[in-house]
Each structure stands twice: as structure tokens, then as C-alpha cells.
Symmetry: C2
Subunit: 567 residues, 2 copies
């Protein structure tokens, strides 16, 4: 026998620490679900306080306020069943990553996360104790299991246990950070879990940006055969809804205990409105990455209270792509480009800057830096007497530009977006306090070869060209000295990026990189050395959107003092 439940998954964008607004939004979505006569609405992991709250969790008053916020929510909940993430605390002061089960003004039950991730960007064992028993409750004659994020990733784990207890619907509330292709991984895993448990699966992911992380949404409901019933939007808020005919249990009340038993009352007798028709096509890879960058940039700017952003435009592909992303994120009226030409800037790049700004419809400010550069040279002349020009003079120019951009930031309250890509950041082909100066590094995790692809992709989406074709064609140059080309000091980008993927993202050994790529061992060694010795630069870099399986930042924690050489 079956009973049909209408379940809604609220894939919403929350803000860390914004307890009041988060609860407000949770209530709004709950009301929407009630209008649709849903039996259940779920919300993401740690929805009340935002994810990840990091060391805010060490402040006892933060946990207290999150509990207060939860209770302010509880008292407003009537007929619908709400499942929402929050931080739980026991009498000894231990913290749990928890899901609250709320109905008719009461907290009917609590699921504690059992599998705590402590790798990659995750530090959950720093804060939480693992739960000790998987949570199952009954709604009418249906048994349901609730688990949290990592809990559902384990074969033979929490989900299986809940199914063995009779749960025919498994609800997972998540905050699963994006990297390219992650959605496919997740769907594969969820399909396996459905097949393993023979249960429906409702996977409710978070959406939005938080510092370096983007949560991509793509919440999903699967049937017990692992077939997709409905999938949520990517990179947008969404309310996912489905009517699920679920096999009922005998004596559900006895199985879960009185507290976790919820009667299926009149709500279910009411005539339910028809489900909205929906068709959600998954984004292809480039579109997916592009959207992650736009959302991550938007949320970093807005959640930090900035209205406008300023970008140094060089006429190169990196700053051009960054400007397009910024425009897509916050609108052309909120993006300001600054061109800061020097004696080494070519006619071509300067003309491209103007065309780009024009195409994008953004304001362009031109501030030539030669007069400033000249005075620095003069002031330092005595100390540098007799010494050849070198990278010092190149960095001086980059830092003059950094200073000017920061002056605009200070004077007008614009956030400076930096334009360095992952290839440069890896090998230190960038200037600390120069082109690295700024609040957010939009394409920090995007390798140069992918920068070109994303720029091409974005150009093709538009009727008229956004980034001038000449920008794609020109050999990359920092334009910090005469006739400079990136390839004077770096291997060609396709070679560099291939090595970096192996070394930075996968921690592959030197010998193996050489044998798998067939690149010149000297080239590979040189790249590895450059990556290793530039850890100090990355430590002072601004945050940026993670789009690869391993980004710089808390994903990759290497010491600065480090004499290890493998080769």
C-alpha cells in the first residue's frame, strides 16, 4: 500500500551569521510550500546560521543565538513538517551539525550528522561531535530518514541503516561546495544510494557564494530505482516539488516512538493544486563554470555590502573576462574599468580596453602611470645606481597600479576585483600588492587555457561581440617591459596548465608527471619549483571562487617554510 506525500525542497541562498534574515527567508519559503499544500518542506544544512560558520562556532553566544533563531522559527510553524539545518548543543557543550524536525510549533526530533568531513575545504571535526544514531521518523504511515550531507555519501552507512529501519524516503540536507563536474559526481552517488536502499531520495542542496565557496544548488529527487523525478536549478534559488507515492509501514508509531510520530492530518485531504510544469536542463561545462564565477562574485560583493566594483583593465584576456563576469554579476552601471597605461602599453591593448568598455557599457577611467613611475625611479636612483633594470622596475609599475585602484576603492567605496588566473597564481607570475591587490580574485582558480574558453563561450552567447577578437589573438604579455611576452619565462599555457593540473590539483609526483605528459623533465621541474616557492605570495592573495577540485586557500594548506624537494 502507498500513501502520497507532497514534498518541497527549498534551495535557498543564505548568509553566514545573518540569523534573522535567514529565518525570514525560511519562513517565506515555508509559506509558499503551504500554499502548495505540501506535507514537508526541507532546507539546507545549517540553514539557520549559514554554511560554513567556521570559528563563529567557538563563540558560545553565536550557538545560543542560532538556537534562539531556531526557536523563533519553530513557534511560527503550523501544519507543515519543516526540516531545517541548525547547530545543536548538548548539556556538556558539545556541538552537532543538526537537522531539526518541526511540526505544529514543536521540535519533534533532531538528526545529528554522523559523518563529519575533515578534508579539503572542510574542518568539521574542529567543531562538531558526530551523532551516534541515524534518525527516522513517521509521517502518517510512512517512515522517513533524515541525514546530513556527508552522511549519504557512504555506501553501507547512515542511509542504508535508515532504509533497514524501514525508511522509504531519505531526506538529505546538504551544503555541497561546487567544483566543475561535481553535480555529475553527486548524481551518480545518489543513484547508487537509491539503488542500495530502494528508497526515494530528496537531496536538498544550498545555493550561493560564501567567501571562496560556491554552492551550486541542483537539488534533486530520485525514485527508489535511482531515476530522477525532478531536479532544481543550478546557481539559483528554487523550490523543488514532487508528489511521491510511498509504500507505507505497519505500526509506524511503534517503530519510531511517540515523539517522532506525526499524524497525517487534514492537510492531506485537501485538494492540492497542480504541480507547476518544469523542465530543467543541466548546464554544459563551460556554462556551469561561468555561472559559478558570476554567482560567487555577485555574492561576495553584495554580502559584504559593496554596491560597485572596480577593475584594472589591461587589454588582456584575464581582465577582459573578469570585467564581463563582473558586469553579469552586478550590472554594467556598477562596474568601473580603470586603464593605467605606461610607456610599455601598446596602442593595440589600449584600443582594446576602450572597445571592451564600450561593448560592456561600463564606465572607463584612464590614469596614465608614467609620471608616477618616473618619480619613483628618480627617488630610487641613488640607491639603485649602476644596477641593471630587472623585475624590480616591473613590480614598481604593477604596484603603482595597485595603489591607484585602491585609491579609487578608498575614495568611492568600490571593491577592487583582481584579474589573476590560476596559472599565474600557481607559478607566481604576478605581483604582490600590485596586480594581486584587491578584495576578490574572480578567476583565481581558472587556468589560463580555460580563461580563453570561457571568454569565447561568453562572446558566443551574445549577439554582438563583448571581448574584441584581437584580445584572443594577441600573445599574452604583462607589458611591464619592452617586448615582454609571458612565454619568455613560462612554458606555453597548454603545457603549463597540464602540469599544474597534475601537480597542484592531484599531488602527482614529478616522475609520474614526466612519464604521463612526456614533457621535458626540466620544464616540469621548473614549474614545480615555481609553484613551491611562491606559497608566500598565495598566502597574501585575496579570496576567489573555487571551481576546481583543489583550489588555493583552505583547500590546499602548505607550509611557507618548506625545504622538501622530491625530484
Amino acid at each position: 500500500m502507498e500513501e502520497t506525500l507532497r514534498i518541497t525542497l527549498a534551495q535557498i541562498n543564505l548568509t553566514v551569521g545573518d540569523l534573522k534574515e535567514n529565518v525570514e527567508k525560511i519562513l517565506n519559503f515555508t509559506m509558499q510550500a503551504q500554499r502548495l499544500k505540501a506535507n514537508i518542506i526541507t532546507f539546507p544544512e545549517l540553514a539557520i546560521c549559514g554554511y560554513p560558520p567556521e570559528d563563529l562556532l567557538l563563540k558560545e553566544y553565536f550557538v545560543r543565538d542560532n538556537l534562539k533563531a531556531l526557536h523563533s522559527l519553530i513557534e511560527k510553524i503550523s501544519d507543515i513538517v519543516v526540516i531545517v539545518g541548525f547547530v545543536d548543543r548538548d548539556r556538556e557543550g558539545n556541538l552537532y551539525n543538526a537537522a531539526g524536525l518541526i511540526h505544529k510549533g514543536k521540535l519533534k526530533g533532531i538528526a545529528h550528522k554522523i559523518e563529519l568531513p575533515n578534508y579539503g575545504v572542510f574542518d568539521e571535526k574542529r567543531y562538531f561531535q558526530p551523532g551516534n544514531s541515524p534518525f527516522v521518523f513517521a509521517l502518517g504511515r510512512t517512515l522517513l530518514g533524515v541525514n546530513i550531507c556527508e552522511d549519504i555519501w557512504m555506501k553501507g552507512g547512515v542511509a542504508k541503516y535508515q532504509a533497514d529501519q524501514g525508511a522509504r524516503l531519505l531526506i538529505n540536507i546538504s551544503a555541497s561546495p561546487y567544483h566543475a563536474g561535481k553535480v555529475t559526481l553527486r548524481e551518480k552517488m545518489l543513484k547508487e544510494r537509491a539503488e542500495e536502499t530502494n528508497a526515494y531520495i530528496c537531496y536538498n542542496n544550498l545555493v550561493g557564494g560564501q567567501d571562496e565557496l560556491v554552492f551550486d544548488g541542483a537539488s534533486i529527487i530520485l525514485d527508489p530505482k535511482g531515476k530522477e523525478i525532478v531536479i532544481g536549478k543550478q546557481f539559483e534559488e528554487d523550490l523543488i516539488i514532487a508528489d511521491l507515492p510511498i509504500r507505507v509501514s505497519n505500526r509506524p508509531e511503534a517503530k519510531v516512538g511517540r515523539k517522532c510520530y506525526i499524524k497525517l492530518d487534514k492537510l492531506n485531504d485537501a485538494k492540492k493544486p497542480d504541480l507547476p510544469k518544469r523542465y530543467c536542463k543541466k548546464l554544459d561545462r563551460k556554462n556551469e563554470i561561468y555561472n559559478a564565477l558570476v554567482l560567487g562574485t555577485h555574492d561576495y560583493i553584495r554580502k559584504n555590502g559593496f554596491k560597485k566594483a572596480v577593475i584594472g583593465l589591461s587589454g588582456g584576456i584575464d581582465s577582459s573576462l573578469t570585467a564581463v563576469i563582473a558586469r553579469d554579476a552586478i550590472g554594467k552601471e556598477n562596474v568601473i574599468g580603470v586603464s593605467m597605461p605606461s610607456r610599455y602599453s601598446s596602442q593595440e591593448t589600449q584600443s582594446d580596453v576602450k572597445v571592451l568598455a564600450d561593448n560592456l557599457g561600463i564606465r572607463l577611467i584612464i590614469v596614465p602611470i608614467d609620471s608616477i613611475f618616473n618619480v619613483y625611479l628618480l627617488v630610487l636612483e641613488k640607491e639603485f645606481l649602476g644596477l641593471a633594470r630587472d623585475v624590480t622596475e616591473e613590480n614598481l609599475q604593477a604596484r603603482i597600479r595597485g595603489n591607484i585602484l585602491m585609491a579609487f576603492s578608498n575614495k568611492f567605496g568600490w571593491l577592487v576585483l583582481t584579474t589573476g588566473n590560476k596559472s599565474e597564481t600557481s607559478v607566481g607570475y604576478c605581483t604582490l600588492y600590485g596586480d594581486m591587490a584587491g578584495g576578490f580574485a574572480v578567476i583565481k582558480d581558472v587556468p589560463k587555457t580555460l580563461v580563453y574558453k570561457l571568454a569565447r563561450f561568453r562572446n558566443e552567447k551574445e549577439d554582438r561581440r563583448l571581448i574584441p577578437e584581437t584580445v584572443f589573438k594577441r600573445e599574452p604579455s604583462a607589458e611591464l617591459k619592452m617586448n615582454q611576452k609571458d612565454q619568455d619565462t613560462l612554458p606555453p599555457y597548454p603545457v603549463l596548465d597540464a602540469i599544474l593540473k597534475e601537480y597542484v590539483e592531484k599531488d602527482i609526483a614529478f616522475e609520474k608527471i614526466v612519464s604521463s605528459t612526456k614533457f621535458n623533465p626540466e620544464v616540469v621541474k621548473d614549474v614545480i619549483q615555481k609553484v613551491d616557492k611562491n606559497e608566500y605570495k598565495r598566502r597574501q592573495a585575496p579570496p576567489g571562487v573555487k571551481i576546481t577540485p583543489k583550489a588555493f586557500g583552505k583547500d590546499r594548506r602548505l607550509p611557507i617554510v618548506n625545504k622538501y624537494k622530491e625530484y
Copy 2:
């Protein structure tokens, strides 16, 4: 019955990743111990690879090379028993923080760390599996337990278990990071452990700096009543040695198994040289902190391969103290001061800079910045037309100075030391890419009130004054505009530092700070707001020596996007 063992603790300074040099040093100390006819020599936690190796542990070849290094050591060990930290790996690829027991060219046993710290600066659960059984071995008729760092901190834990198994001597190898007063905490804990177990305790700590951490040494041997037998130097390498008359066991071989049984051979019959007389007085608080700063600075500079360091000298107390520390760390011939006066620099500060440089015997370079500042103002005139001067123009100057210091760094290979204290860093009273520009922030974790105390302490140690008295007397000023004083925007430093200690170091709630300090609630709130909103600046700050229980950096991980307000 008793048997006397001569045990030596090698408190040595190792470098992360420098496998070859680390093994070299371990061998040198082993030879010294052998000349002293010691039965046992111990080395710190993870001595082979250095501590903490962080994500180097995710590179399988790093772990492999650490094992190779261990084996290169093993084959050189003859009669003496060596106990040394290394990274162990099992067949499934799980890693363990381990201590190897080596004798006569063989690895006789391995202790795995059982208690893995995953709080504060520690991330050990990111890498290691916990061991599952405390390790005991026999030397002659004596039973000894070996455990690692955190293992010995737990009452009723690993140490107690080992004592219950019959161990009469407990060896703990550690890498315990310094903060002011930590040595007292450790000694109290070790005394309790001795009393709990009724065993001798040999506590072998690491010494040296690694990025933000300083390991302070102060290794110690206690008798079973918890009385100190010998204590090692603080902040220096040392070989600690004692003859311990230890109660013997019946049938030790049966208790530990053949593999972990080591015969007490002729070494023990040999006439042993007398122990060197030693008297090691513990440093008082200011001396201790000062030494931590000197060692941390020295090791960061040297282990990163720099010979010289450059410091912007303003005539204020922060840069003066930084210069003195740098001189004590690497010698006057290796420290360069740069004075960069502007129209706002007073005669007094400029004269103090000269006196200071003269007192320290360091080279002083003077680079006035007004001509550069003027050109910036000119170039930006059009864009800033009609707008009042504000913090923009102050930051411009600070960033010109940052650019000049970095130019010296780039041209001559000098490491730039920054001079910001913890009070400034907390409330953001500092300029990103300006006075924050540099490789190492020496006094980043030193509150302003303590800066004065340390400067005073250091002056008093010298016959002639190092820092001019006028520097102490003058009201603090950034000298970035006319008649500017720190106290225009900040509460008096004693008030500020008291609030910061509660809020930053102890995570105390607003209301509690107000009630315990009796400060004006508006002042407290203003400080908390400043701390919260300047997280973005600290994220781009250079590393610096941790001297308090909670430093900025990996000790305190707060999100940048964070709308939480408690008050």
C-alpha cells in the same frame, strides 16, 4: 630492585621538508649521546620530516621519502636506543603520527599517536588515523612507554594505561607550540601525569620557528613524584641528560613480546662519563616572549633562505622594537632601516629614527616620499575633484612606502619585515599593501601595551639605550595627516588591549566584556565591530610569530562574509 638508565633528550631545531638535513642532525646528536654512553636518545615529534608538514602529507611521495629517510637513519644506529618521530603509513595508505624505536640497525617497534589534536592551530585529523594501542617496550628489565605529544595531556589516558602495563618510564615526544606561559601549563600537566602514573617522565619538545609557530623547547625530566630532575633550555637547541634509577619488572620480555625487548648490553657496563653540571633558570615572562619573537624571526628569515631584512622605520615604538628584534635575530650587518618621511613626518620622529639606527649600528637609507605623493595627487586630481581629503590620501602614502620597501626587496633580495602590532591588526588600523606589505610580521601577535613593555625590557638589558626615550614618551601617531594621533580613532591602548584580549583571544560575549571591564558599552561595541569588519585585511596579512593563546592565522578561522552581530 632498580636499574639505572642514562637517557638523553635531543631538543633540536628541524626544518619542514628538509629530510636529509634533519636526519643528519639526528645522527649528530645520536653520536653525542653515544659519547656520553647514554642508553637512550629521544627526538621530537615528526623529527624526520619537520612539524607541522601540513598538506605535504597529502603527497604520497612525501610520505615515501620520509620513510626512506627513516630507513637511512635506522641502518646507521648501533648500540644506543633511538626514539624518533616520523610519518608512518599502513598497507591501506592510512597515515599515523608515529614514534620509531630503533636499535642495532632495526626498527624494533612503532608507537602511533592516539590523541589527535584538531583545534587551535592543529589539523591532525585532516591527515592521521589515531593509533589503537599504547606502546610499551622493555630495555633490560625496565619497561618503558612511548607516547606522542597530546597523548600525555589526557588524564586517565595513554600514559595511565602504559603505567598500568608496568611502564616505569614514560617518554613523550612533542612539538608543542609556544604561547606566553605555556611552559608553566605544560609543567603542571606533566607533574600531574607523573603523580597519576608514579613513573618517570621524559618530555622531549621541539625547538625552532615554523611559519607562525615557535616551539620553545624547555624539555623536561620529572621523577615519579613529579619533581623536576632536569629542564632544557628555552628557545635553543639542547641535549638534556639524566641517569634514572628505575624499578625493574619481572619477566619484561614476556610482557612486551620478543620484538619490543631490547637487551641491556655492554653499553651499560662501561664506565660512564660524569654528567655535565647544569643550571637552567626559567626565563621571566617578558624575556620569554622576547626570545620567542627573536627565534621566530630568525628561523623564518633563514629557513626561507634570506640573508638580510629591511624595515621601514617611522620613529614609532613598533618599528623600533621590530628593528631591535631583527638585529638580535640576524645581526646588525644584516638589518637595513629605511626612513620614508613625508610632509607629515615630524622633526622628532625623524631624529629618533637616526638615533635608533645609530644605536643599533644598522644601515639607514632615507627616501623621502613627498615628490611621489604629489604626482599621485596630480594624476588623480581630475577624478577626485571637489572631494574632501580622507583616508584615501593617508593610504596612498602608506602604499608608496610599501612599494619602496618592496623595490629594495626585489632589487637586493632583502626580506621586508612589517611592523604592525596585534592591536592595530585587530581593529584594522593599518593599510593593506601599505604598512602591511612584507614577508613577515614580527610583532603581529603583540598587543601595543606589550610592545612598550618589551621595548622597555630590551632597553634595560643593554648598558646603553637602544630605543630613544622620546619614542616611549611620544603619543602614538601614524603621521599620515596633520596632527594625527592614534587615539583620535581608537580608545586608549590599555582599554583597547583589554577588550581585544576578551573578544579576540577568549571569544567572550559583548555583555560579559562590558560587565567585567566596566568600559563604556559604546566603546566595546565599536571595537568589536572593527575587529569583525577587518577580517578581510587580516586574510591578506603576512605571517608572524604566535605568542598569545589565540593568534590571527590558522588559529582563528573566521569567515569574511559574516553578518553576525551579537550585540
